[in-house]
Symmetry: C2
């Protein structure tokens, strides 16, 4: 299925189909298809994140190591229903940010498939270590996928620009 020539026209050669219980639904992961910033903003609205200026989001995406979208396939207008991105040097370190699945599509294992796709891509780059900051409500989600929580009792720290 992953070599479907039609889907690769939409999503590039690196796309991956997500199996779902609903056979009529085609959900596609890809790092190749461009992310529409207005669609991404709608997705972030839907998961309750605060808005950021589009020009800054555009620049941040351009300077990311990896941008992955999850689309509900529609030959007329594919709809962005999930997203994740990574920053990093692509060798020793990568950091995952902004993991989102639209609330209407949650509970079907898509977040897990999105993260598996992200890690597969980072593995291909031979990145040694991947890190992320997990909010309390998603700690279990990551722990169940083999992420080590606070190894060596490391603590996360943030500094916000004044």
């Amino acid at each position: 299925m992953d070599s479907d020539p039609l889907l690769s026209n939409f999503y590039g050669v690196g796309f991956r189909l997500c199996p779902t219980p609903n056979a009529q639904l085609q959900l596609v992961l890809s790092e190749d298809r461009d992310i529409d910033l207005v669609e991404l903003e709608k997705l972030c609205d839907a998961v309750g994140w605060s808005r950021r200026p589009l020009r800054r989001v555009r620049k941040a995406l351009q300077h990311s190591l990896l941008r992955v979208g999850l689309w509900r396939h529609d030959p007329r207008v594919p709809r962005l229903v999930g997203f994740a991105r990574c920053t990093g040097d692509g060798v020793l370190e990568a950091t995952v940010w902004d993991v989102a699945v639209h609330p209407l599509y949650q509970g079907a294992g898509l977040g897990r498939q999105l993260m598996a796709y992200v890690l597969d891509r980072l593995r291909t780059m031979e990145v040694e270590r991947v890190s992320l900051f997990a909010d309390p409500d998603v700690v279990g989600f990551y722990a169940s996928q083999g992420w080590e929580l606070e190894p060596r009792q490391r603590r996360c720290a943030f500094w916000y620009s004044p």
Copy 2:
């Protein structure tokens, strides 16, 4: 002092002198001077970090957002005695890695000056948020410099390449 034309030949225009109690010691921070990989390896050895292949370190440094060295100035051979680097998109997120000060130069406030220099550079880029993973023995070091520890009870998680 920061406009010393001699020092800028060595360290570039963005260098900063670190005040120290010892007037004979000139310690210079800079993001402009190239990091010698063999010197960096010696510094990492001195602080007890495990070695990594130089070609991978070279690539990681090339793909970093910021690389800052701290040198003990010597007109013949400046000596690298401190280091820090950041990855990130340079807009929304930056992450600090590999903060090191040579044990012989610790205890004089140089780590603090190194971090202040890093944050000044990130501020100039207008990065919104800076993150890091603090080992237990340096949590107090960062907390005393205005870093928020585990804000919103976020937890750090790592995934290591098999």
